[in-house]
C-alpha cells in the first residue's frame, strides 16, 4: 500500500508571488481555482487564485481569466447592493488573477444538513436557513443575477456576532444625555434580551436602518421609536408575503400535500 498523500498545505515562497509577503495555506482546489487561507493586513482572509489553463493559447487564456475575475468582482458588489450577504472583497489582483476575501467563520449549509442527518433535525434552525436561502436567491434573481452553482456546499452560515449589535446601541446610550438615567438603561437591556432571543436578525436590521438615516438619534426615545417603527414595517411586509404565498399554495391544482 502506498503511503497516504501528504495533507494539502502549501506554504508560498516569496519567489512565487513576486515579493508579495504573506503565507498561503491551500484549503481547496477546484476545477477553476485554488483557494488559500492567508492574512490581509492582519486579518484572516481567503485568497482565490484562478489558474491558467495550459491547453489554451496564452493570450486567450490571460484575457479569459481576467474577464472572469472582473466579472466575479462585479457580481459580488452587485449582490451586496441587492442586500445579499457575501464575504467582503478585500483585494483584486489582475496580475496573479487572485481575489482576496474576508474569511467567513462558520459551517457550510451542507455540513449543517449532514449534521441534521446524523443527530436529528432542529426544525427551527432548518426553517430559518431555508428562509434565508430563499430570501437571498430571490434577491439575486430580482436583481437580474444568476448564481450558476447553487449548492449547499457554496453557502456558509456566518456565526453571528451578537455583541456587535449591543455595541452599536451601547455607543448610542453613552452619547445620550445623562438626564435619562439608569431606568431607561435597564428597560432597554431587558428589551435587548427579548430581542436577542426572539428577533435577532430583524432587530439588527432595524437598528442598522436607524443609524443609516443620518447621524445618531440624540436620545433613547428617538432610537426606540425608530427601531420599533422599522420592526413593524419589516414584520408587516413578511406577514403579507406569507399570506399570499399560502393562498397561492392552496388554490393551485398542483399544491403538494405535506
Amino acid at each position: 500500500m502506498p503511503p497516504p498523500p501528504p495533507p494539502l498545505t502549501v506554504i508560498c515562497s516569496e519567489m512565487e508571488l513576486e515579493g508579495i509577503e504573506g503565507s498561503l495555506v491551500l484549503i481547496k482546489q477546484g476545477a477553476e481555482a485554488r483557494v488559500f487561507e492567508s492574512t490581509f493586513v492582519g486579518r484572516r482572509s481567503v485568497v482565490k487564485e484562478r489558474f491558467s489553463k495550459k491547453y489554451r493559447h496564452p493570450l486567450l487564456d490571460s484575457k479569459l481569466t481576467l474577464k472572469r475575475l472582473n466579472a466575479e468582482a462585479r457580481c459580488l458588489t452587485k449582490a451586496r447592493k441587492l442586500g445579499v450577504s457575501t464575504p467582503a472583497l478585500y483585494a483584486v489582483d489582475p496580475v496573479l488573477h487572485a481575489l482576496t476575501f474576508e474569511y467567513v467563520e462558520g459551517p457550510a449549509v451542507k455540513d449543517i444538513l449532514l449534521d441534521f442527518g446524523l443527530h436529528g433535525i432542529v426544525e427551527e434552525r432548518l426553517d430559518d436557513i431555508a428562509a434565508q436561502i430563499g430570501d437571498a436567491i430571490g434577491k439575486l434573481h430580482d436583481g437580474g443575477l444568476i448564481h450558476g452553482d447553487l449548492t449547499t456546499s457554496n453557502m456558509l452560515v456566518r456565526i453571528e456576532d451578537k455583541a456587535v449589535d449591543l455595541y452599536v446601541l451601547e455607543r448610542a446610550l453613552l452619547s445620550m444625555h445623562s438626564s435619562c438615567g439608569n431606568v431607561l438603561e435597564k428597560v432597554l437591556l431587558d428589551t435587548f434580551g427579548y430581542f436577542i432571543r426572539n428577533m435577532q436578525s430583524d432587530f439588527s436590521s432595524a437598528v442598522k436602518m436607524v443609524f443609516h438615516n443620518g447621524p445618531y438619534p440624540c436620545c433613547i426615545q428617538e432610537i426606540l421609536e425608530a427601531v420599533v417603527c422599522n420592526l413593524e414595517q419589516a414584520s408587516s411586509s413578511t406577514t403579507k408575503r406569507k399570506k399570499t404565498h399560502n393562498d397561492w399554495m392552496s388554490s393551485s391544482p398542483f399544491s403538494r400535500t405535506r
Binding site: 462585479r74 451586496r80 467582503a88 483585494a91 483584486v92 436602518m209 443609524f211
Partner: protein
C-alpha cells in the same frame, strides 16, 4: 499616531488624526507645489469610519508601486486616489483628500520614522486625537452618498466592508 504593517515589502503605514485644523489651505498649496516635506497623504477623515479601509487602499497602493504601475504622480497621492470608489482621478483626489475648508484630517505616510511623523504634525495647525475617535466623528451621510451605499447593503454589511468592496473592486468594474 499609530503604525500598521501592510504586508508588502515590510512597509508600514503611519496614521495620525487631527481636528480643528485651521491651515488646510496652506497644506493644500504646499502639497500641490510639491514642497511639503516629508511627503504625506491627507485624507478627509469624515469619510473614514474605521482604519481598515485605509489599510486596504494602502495595500493596493504598495502593490501598484511594486509593479511600477502608479496611476497618480506620487505614492501618497495614489493612497488618496485608492481610497475612492471612483476611477476619476481628480474627482477622487478632491473628495477623499482635503479642501481649503477641511478641519478634520487623517494624515498618512508610508514607512515613516518618528522624526518624520513629528515633522508632519508640526505642519498641521490642529489638535491630534486618537484613531478610536474615527468612528464617532465619521460623517455617515457623506459616506453613504460618496460610496453610493444602499439601505439593503447596510442590512448585510458594515460600512467598513462596504467601503473596502468598492476600493478593491473599483478597477474591475
Amino acid at each position: 499616531m499609530k503604525s500598521f504593517e501592510i504586508g508588502i515589502g515590510g512597509i508600514s503605514l503611519s496614521l495620525a488624526l487631527f481636528v480643528d485644523v485651521t491651515n488646510s489651505k496652506e497644506l493644500l498649496e504646499l502639497m500641490q507645489a510639491g514642497t511639503l516635506e516629508p511627503e504625506v497623504a491627507f485624507l478627509n477623515a469624515s469619510l473614514v469610519p474605521v482604519v481598515f479601509p485605509v489599510l486596504a487602499a494602502a495595500y493596493k497602493t504598495l502593490v501598484a508601486k511594486s509593479r511600477e504601475s502608479l496611476t497618480t504622480r506620487t505614492l501618497h497621492s495614489e493612497l488618496v486616489y485608492n481610497y475612492s470608489g471612483s476611477k476619476h482621478i481628480s474627482e477622487s483626489l478632491k473628495r477623499c483628500g482635503i479642501s481649503d475648508s477641511t478641519t478634520y484630517i487623517l494624515a498618512a505616510r508610508f514607512g515613516a520614522s518618528s522624526d518624520e511623523m513629528t515633522a508632519i504634525k508640526g505642519h498641521i495647525k490642529g489638535t491630534e486625537i486618537g484613531l478610536d475617535e474615527l468612528e464617532t466623528r465619521a460623517d455617515r451621510a457623506q459616506i453613504h452618498k460618496h460610496y453610493k451605499i444602499s439601505v439593503p447593503e447596510l442590512g448585510i454589511s458594515s460600512v467598513s466592508d462596504a467601503i473596502i468592496c468598492r476600493i478593491s473592486a473599483r478597477d474591475a468594474l
